[in-house]
């Protein structure tokens, strides 16, 4: 039990946000969860500090009264004793950890309490499992995101197992997953009978945990609420109390927002950004409309801040960013952008507020004062920025940005730790300023802020954009869905820091040794290639030293030269053979891995990529790695090694000459490096333009028919031309910056001799060097020059190869489907959709669909085209990953099944039937590969295929490729029925399977269908309502929602949408009949 008795406290000096608290009397029973709430600076943090003893031991001031935990007087005892009883979690994740590594931090508290090693080990293990921290172990805390840090902070307190937990705004830096996890942790602690005191602004996640809410105002305890009372307080009254929303569900869109503005302001294409070799951002395209306020949401560590920094041009990235139609480079972007950082202390540089905003203002002081007034800062104009409160500092930074004429403003979690008033004030500022700047981008985890002032939402996941939508009614629903969706898996992964070359070498496996061997062989070869030069040098020396050169005494040298040449040729060639073996072996491994990964990807994702791109990936991109493995690594390294050895020899011959040569090579390398980075910067745009051109060409070719029919050549040509021109410009731009570099390295490295020649001559003249050494040095330079040149030409190719490797890497690390290896374990074959949500790119296609398709019944899904009924079927067979809810078969979630197990349960008969270029027999056998010929034929009979197959030239042995043209749509359909009959899966999905039915086929088709569907769970997606009017259940879908469900007659009575569909159907049938009658 915690008792705070008659406590008064006044801060001495300038500690804490408020002045202190008066007359606090509070009793908290053991096992109770109490939330302290109230406006910023009301004194709730002060109360929490009294419980953990920081007041009066750390924050000094006038303290009266006493704080008791049971019989233990907190204010009298030392802090270190209190630490065993009270565990504290603080607001700022940055400044509450003491260690650099996570493991050390988790054990830190226990160590301080003097526990034995075994005990610490036990608690450490328990903490890690209880709080799901496995992914965070053995990591550098400085590399973690704020939410991850906060998890570690909670964990390290949890490990000490105190009686009382005191938390000071623990959620202020957390994303929704982390908040949910925090709330789970709190529940667990509560269940263990711990007493928890939380001082907090965000209330919604505490509503079903807290026992009491203590409302603090102006340093006094003002009121107390129970959960129920607080929940029933209307939004307006909450606002008056300065409290945040108690439920996300209550958030409403602001009706006055205007979404009509469609003019693109910022356009981002192919933005990628890597940090320490790990790709963090991979964005195809985003367009931000003018005067929009865009909320960037996504879980911690998904790349939100990195994206903002890349857009600002702060960190290197590739791709193109256009503002008002003009492409900007990093430097120009820095001029246009401004970011209000989360830690605003870092960006205040001047002595006074006014000076601060005038620092690089384009307007005069009058204007500055006006802006300050608008932001409520005028009275602080002369104050030192450091003396302002957090919110005031933030506004100072905003004022500085506006006055410096910045067009794009970024805010990094601006409302973390703000109370209601602060959040709304900030939101209002954003709304007011909306038209002064082109685009505002807010990175936030605060759903209240988003609904308060944002116009659009950009949703990131794993560095990719998974949705960009306006914040209208529907958008608000999606936002709520996002913040409310349960998810407890810890996605934080240790980033793979290997360089792309390292990753590729990882695929080499056993071939790595071969590559090393090839390197050795080539090094020997390359060394041998210098020997002839040295031999010739020796001959020349003899001539110069006026010795007689006869065949006899020079024979050994000549022989040596010949042998060296032979060794060079043989070893180099052997090296190349070995390296090529290794390279193609590795390519094989990579292609296999690619294929394995591809199989685990959502089928929808693979289809969207298009066969062209996948083909390019498997052939061209993979092939480009051959150059790296077969040439660059072994050959390049060998060619680099030998000059280094030569340099060492050169030092032995004459260190001065060696020093000069080193100096020249060093200058050469640093210049080329400079050029290399410049070239690299342009590389991204060049490749992006290439990709755009490819897309334009594909579109041009695909759309040719439509274009010609509707006579739209002009538009299409224009688009095509633009893409081609752009490609030309970027390519030329790239070459333009790369040319001088190429020219330079060629001249620098080809002619190392040029430097050694004059200097060496000088040394000889000065008598510093013997002529024989001079000749030797010259010859070595001659020998190594070509190698360096060779080496540099490889370096020139590195950007291209590494770009392709990156493309490969990014394709390989797409999110795979969530499947587990479980077998089917459901009770029966009833299919149930439970509140299923699915978003495809920017649009939410399925919005909370729930229905059951019982075993032995036929369930029909009907609706207009594009209503989402086909998507539902595809979700059932796990072509795509659902974004919310669950789909179960006999009570088992399909995500827990392996794809094989799922496929065994379901036959999917779709409207488009693909026949492989095999015999008809084999094509039917696809349904069940171990079926005998007789079984296949029996299935074909049941599917009414037998007749027409026998009419084919070779019967069942006809190749489907050649017969393909001869088969009608209905016939192909029936082949697919035969497959399904053969497979005999308990669940059957017909996706518009009767699309090709004509009068002649219809009867046969019906018979076939009834054959397949006997005693099965049948889901039919149909356009023709006539064909499903006898279904056991008809589910009417409109715009991703269920609008009616029942039997035909009921629906005709009570479902308007169904009636409309029915009438439409009737009308088309009439139309067909009339047409036939006319004929």
């Amino acid at each position: 039990m915690i008792e705070i008795k008659n406590v008064n406290f006044k801060y001495g000096g300038e500690e804490g946000p408020g002045d202190g608290v008066e007359d606090i009397n509070l009793t908290i029973k053991t096992g109770e969860v109490v939330v302290l709430c109230g406006e910023s600076g009301c004194g709730k943090t002060t109360i929490s500090r009294m419980i953990n003893g920081l007041i009066p031991h750390f924050y000094e001031g006038e303290f009266e009264g006493e704080v008791l935990i049971d019989d233990y007087n907190v204010s009298k005892h030392e802090l270190c004793e209190t630490a065993a009883l009270v565990g504290s979690v603080f607001q700022n994740p940055k400044s509450q950890f003491f260690n650099v590594d996570t493991t050390g931090e988790l054990t830190f508290g226990c160590e301080n309490l003097g526990m034995s090693r075994e005990e610490i080990g036990k608690r450490f293990a328990k903490t890690v499992t209880d709080m799901k921290l496995e992914a965070l172990l053995n990591r550098n805390i400085f590399e973690l995101s704020g939410g991850e840090k906060q998890q570690i902070a909670c964990g390290s307190v949890y490990a000490t197992e105190p009686q009382v937990f005191v938390m000071d705004e623990p959620s202020s830096n957390l994303d929704r997953k982390a908040i949910r996890r925090l709330s789970d942790i709190l529940k667990k602690m509560k269940a263990l009978g711990k007493t928890i005191v939380i001082s907090e602004h965000r209330l919604y996640y505490l509503m079903d945990i807290a026992d009491r809410f203590v409302y603090v105002k102006n340093g006094r305890i003002d009121r107390e609420f129970t959960c129920e009372e607080l929940r029933n307080i209307p939004e307006e009254e909450l606002f008056a109390l300065g409290l945040r929303s108690t439920a996300i569900e209550n958030l409403k869109p602001r009706t006055e927002n205007d979404y009509s503005e469609k003019t693109p302001s910022v356009e981002v294409i192919d933005l990628t950004c890597s940090r320490q070799n790990a790709r963090i951002i991979d964005i195809d395209r985003i367009v931000l409309p003018k005067h929009s306020v865009v909320a960037v949401i996504g879980d911690n560590g998904c790349g939100k801040s990195t994206m903002a920094e890349a857009l600002c041009g702060l960190i290197p990235s590739s791709g193109s960013v256009a503002f008002n139609g003009a492409y900007l480079n990093d430097k120009q972007r820095r001029k246009k952008c401004f970011m209000v950082m989360q830690d605003v202390n870092r960006q205040l540089f001047s002595d006074s507020c006014l000076e601060e905003v005038m620092l690089n203002a384009t307007q005069d002081e009058e204007e500055a004062k006006k802006t300050l007034e608008k932001l409520g800062l005028l009275e602080y104009a002369d104050r030192h920025p450091a003396s302002l409160s957090g919110g005031q500092k933030q506004r100072t930074a905003i004022a500085a940005a506006v006055l410096a004429d910045k067009d794009i403003l970024f805010y990094d979690e601006p409302t973390s730790g703000l109370d209601r008033l602060g959040m709304e004030r900030f939101g209002n500022i954003l709304r007011d300023m909306k038209n002064d700047v082109a685009v505002s981008v807010i990175i936030t985890h605060d759903p209240e802020l988003i609904t308060h002032c944002c116009t659009h939402v950009l949703h990131l996941e794993r560095g990719r954009v998974i949705g960009f939508y306006p914040l209208d009614e529907e958008g608000v629903e999606r936002i709520k869905g996002y913040f409310l969706s349960p998810s407890d898996d810890n996605t934080s992964k240790k980033r793979d820091k290997r360089s792309s070359v390292g990753k590729i070498l990882g695929y080499a496996g056993k071939h790595k040794l071969s590559i090393f061997f090839a390197f050795l062989l080539m090094t020997i070869g390359a060394m041998a290639s210098i020997v002839p030069y040295v031999g010739i040098g020796e001959l020349i020396r003899r001539v110069i030293e006026a010795k007689s050169v006869t065949l006899d005494n020079s024979l050994t040298i000549v022989a040596g030269v010949v042998i060296a040449e032979v060794i060079y040729a043989i070893f180099y060639m052997l090296g190349l053979i070995v390296s090529h073996h290794a390279a193609y072996g590795t390519l094989e491994n990579i292609r296999k891995t690619l294929q394995e990964k591809m199989e685990k990807l959502p089928l929808g994702f693979v289809m969207n990529k298009g066969s062209g791109e996948i083909k390019k990936l498997f052939t061209d991109d993979v092939e480009s790695i051959e150059a790296l493995l077969a040439h660059m690594i072994p050959e390049g390294l060998a060619n680099l090694c030998v000059p280094v050895i030569a340099l060492v020899i050169l030092v032995a011959i004459d260190w001065k000459l060696a020093l000069l040569t080193m100096l020249m090579v060093f200058i050469g390398i640093s210049v080329s490096r400079q050029m290399y980075t410049v070239g690299m910067n342009k590389m991204g745009s060049y490749f992006a333009a290439g990709k755009r051109m490819n897309n334009a060409i594909v579109e041009y070719v695909n759309g040719m028919e439509v274009v010609r029919v509707f006579n739209r050549q002009k538009d299409s040509d224009y688009k095509y031309e633009k893409a081609v021109n752009e490609y030309r410009d970027y390519a030329l731009e790239w070459y333009r910056v790369s040319w001088p570099w190429m020219a330079l390295y060629k001249s620098v490295f080809a002619n190392i001799v040029l430097y050694s020649l004059p200097f060496g001559a000088l040394f000889v003249l000065l008598g510093q060097m013997s002529i024989s050494n001079y000749i030797l040095a010259l010859m070595i330079s001659f020998g190594t020059g070509p190698m360096l040149l060779h080496c540099m030409s490889f370096i020139g190719a590195v950007p291209q190869v590494s770009y392709k490797i990156e493309a490969l890497e990014s394709a390989m690390d797409s999110v795979p489907l969530k499947t587990m290896e479980e077998e089917f374990a459901g009770s029966d074959n009833t299919v149930e959709f439970r509140d299923v949500h699915f978003s495809y790119k920017d649009a939410e296609v399925i919005k909370g669909v729930s229905f059951t398709a019982a075993e032995g019944e036929t369930t029909a899904l009907v609706g207009m085209s594009g209503s989402g009924k086909s998507t539902l079927a595809k979700l059932l067979v796990h072509y795509y990953e659902i974004s919310g809810g669950e789909i179960t078969i006999g009570g088992q979630d399909i995500r827990s099944m392996s794809l094989d197990a799922l496929n065994e349960r379901i036959s999917f008969v779709s409207q488009s039937v693909f026949l492989f270029n095999k015999t008809i027999m084999e094509n039917i056998r696809m349904g069940r590969p171990d079926a005998s010929d007789e079984e296949v034929i029996a299935a074909a009979r049941l599917a009414e295929c037998d007749d027409f197959i026998m009419e084919l030239r070779d019967g069942y042995q006809t190749m489907a490729g050649s017969a393909g043209g001869a088969l009608s749509g209905g016939q192909r359909q029936r082949i697919s029925f035969a497959r399904a009959i053969l497979k005999d899966a308990p669940i059957i999905v017909f996706d518009e399977a009767t699309a090709y039915v004509d009068a002649e086929n219809e009867k046969k088709m019906k018979r076939a269908i009834s054959e397949i569907t006997r005693d099965k769970t049948v889901i039919v997606i149909a356009h023709k309502l006539k064909s499903i009017e006898n279904a056991d259940r008809i589910v009417v879908i409109d715009n991703g929602r269920i609008v009616g469900c029942g039997k035909n007659d009921e629906l005709l009575g009570n479902c308007e949408e169904y009636r409309r569909l029915w009438n439409l159907n009737e009308a088309t049938q009439d139309w067909q009949l009339k047409k036939e009658a006319q004929i």
């Binding site: 270190c80 630490a83 054990t107 309490l113 450490f124 960006q347 030092v651 032995a652």
Partner: protein, 245 residues
């Protein structure tokens, strides 16, 4: 010079006690001050690099060893060739010599920071019965190196938005102004971090006197004795050798 702080030492073949590393650091300092013979230095440097490699820092060890060997070779060539301008030769030799003699100190320091986790450090200090008043500041120092780096990174970004240039020319033109722009935000944010950190550490019982335990196992094993004796022996040999001069 790279003083990255270690968080994961699982890649090491040879796991030395932090105390051994401290001994290595001490003997390296002694060696730097007393070793007057290149041969001795050569042996010392090679041993040090090999231990670095064994401790899991392969690239660092190999790179340092190559540079070290090359410089010794280069110096040898200059000294023995006896040709060339005496001024340049002398200058180069002395520069290289200074570097070579400091090499053991640098190397052992990098070995300490890059292969020891802070917790191991604290545990080792505890095992040596060091008072908290010595241990805690050292721990805080380690904690603060990356903090300052992070703050500096943020400030640099903020400066880019404000058009405050960090180009050499701008710094030369107004050095005081630049220092002010760097120091003010750095100090203010460091102060606030420091204070919150102190509060957090105290609330978690850091000042609990001398009964702090450690989860880390630090134990002087056979290898540690071997390495310690080897380095002390080397240092002793250098000192005796010097007396003999």
């Amino acid at each position: 010079m790279d003083f990255d702080i270690c968080v994961d030492d699982s890649g090491a073949i040879l796991k030395l006690d932090p105390r051994t590393k401290l001994v290595m650091f001490l003997t390296s300092s002694v060696a730097s001050l007393t070793c007057y013979s290149m041969e001795n230095l050569l042996i010392y440097g090679i041993v040090l690099c090999v231990i670095t490699i064994l401790c899991g820092k392969k690239w660092l060890g190999v790179k340092s060893l190559l540079i070290f060997l090359f410089l010794i070779f280069f110096r040898y060539e200059i000294v023995t060739s006896g040709k060339g301008s005496a001024a340049i030769g002398g200058l180069l030799t002395s520069l290289i010599t200074i570097f070579l003699f400091f090499f053991p100190v640098f190397m052992s320091l990098m070995l300490i920071t890059q292969t020891t986790r802070i917790n191991q450090f604290l545990a080792a200090f505890d095992a040596m019965h060091m008072p908290n008043i010595v241990v805690i500041p050292i721990a805080v120092m380690f904690r603060f190196i990356p903090t300052v780096a992070q703050e500096w990174d943020g400030i640099r970004k903020a400066m880019a938005f404000r058009g405050i240039s960090l180009e050499p020319w701008a710094i030369i033109r107004s050095p005081l102004k630049t220092i002010e722009y760097i120091l003010i935000p750095l100090l203010f944010s460091s102060i606030s971090i420091m204070e919150e950190l102190a509060a957090a550490a105290l609330a978690r019982g850091l000042d609990s006197g001398n009964n702090r335990t450690s989860y880390e196992t630090v134990k002087f094993r056979a290898v540690d004795y071997l390495v310690t004796f080897m380095f002390i022996g080397l240092a002793a040999f250098f000192i005796i050798g010097r007396k003999g001069l």
